[in-house]
């Protein structure tokens, strides 16, 4: 069922560094691409989202880069902080939301 491939599976970054998580999709009918942050025992929280008519969207330290021709999009977390340590999911939507497998991010102090 998975139509969104996410990498890497896990990521370790030093405090202040840039965290980059990548996703690739297959279905060109997808029209909405959100990123979610999930802490253990909690539901996913919407971080930032983009639609395919835009190549980049920035909100605070979080940026989505979107490459429609390559069918890829990525999340960049600038100035990563220990509090950013969580699992991040990309997703893509066309009538139903398809999630990537997740990336466990650890930010070391």
């Amino acid at each position: 069922q998975q139509q969104v491939k996410q990498s890497p599976q896990s990521l370790i970054v030093q405090k202040g560094g840039i965290s980059i998580i990548n996703c690739a999709y297959e279905n060109t009918a997808f029209d909405y691409f959100p990123w979610y942050q999930q802490f253990p025992g909690k539901g996913p929280a919407l971080l930032i989202a983009i639609r395919p008519d835009v190549s980049e969207k920035k909100e605070g330290r979080f940026t989505i880069s979107f490459n429609k021709s390559a069918k890829q999009f990525s999340l960049h977390i600038m100035d990563s902080q220990p509090g950013d340590s969580a699992t991040y999911f990309c997703a893509a939507n066309n009538n139903d939301m398809r999630f990537g497998a997740g990336t466990r991010l650890t930010v070391k102090p």
Partner: protein, 115 residues
């Protein structure tokens, strides 16, 4: 303003039993979606309801069913529980079923354990 609420928080059932999970969306939201999240994996789409009508169904057996009430709250029912149904069940609400206003906000989930 309250976020998405789900009940119960945790549930332990025996194989073969039936379970009902409940979800209340954010005030003003008319769409509710249900997801199953197995430990270590991303959420898997089960159902979407909008204005009390089913708008989408994922690849789950007929043992899974859902409905949405006039106040936009929703229930997910699972019959004949299997060990493999053990998971975190997430509910998400949104203003619309697609297009602008589709941002989905998740509840804390119901942790179902089948023994």
């Amino acid at each position: 303003d309250a976020g998405v609420t789900q009940s119960p928080t945790h549930l332990i059932k025996t194989r073969g039993q039936q379970v009902t999970l409940r979800c209340s969306p954010i005030s003003g939201h008319k769409s509710v979606s249900w997801y199953q999240q197995v430990l270590g994996q991303g959420p898997q789409f089960i159902f979407q309801y909008y204005e009390k009508e089913e708008r989408g169904r994922g690849n789950f057996p007929d043992r899974f069913s859902a409905r949405q009430f006039p106040n936009y709250s929703s229930e997910l029912n699972v019959n004949a529980l299997l060990l493999g149904d053990s998971a975190l069940y997430l509910c998400a609400s949104s203003l619309a079923s697609g297009g602008p206003g589709y941002e989905q906000y998740f509840g804390p989930g119901t942790r179902l354990t089948v023994t």
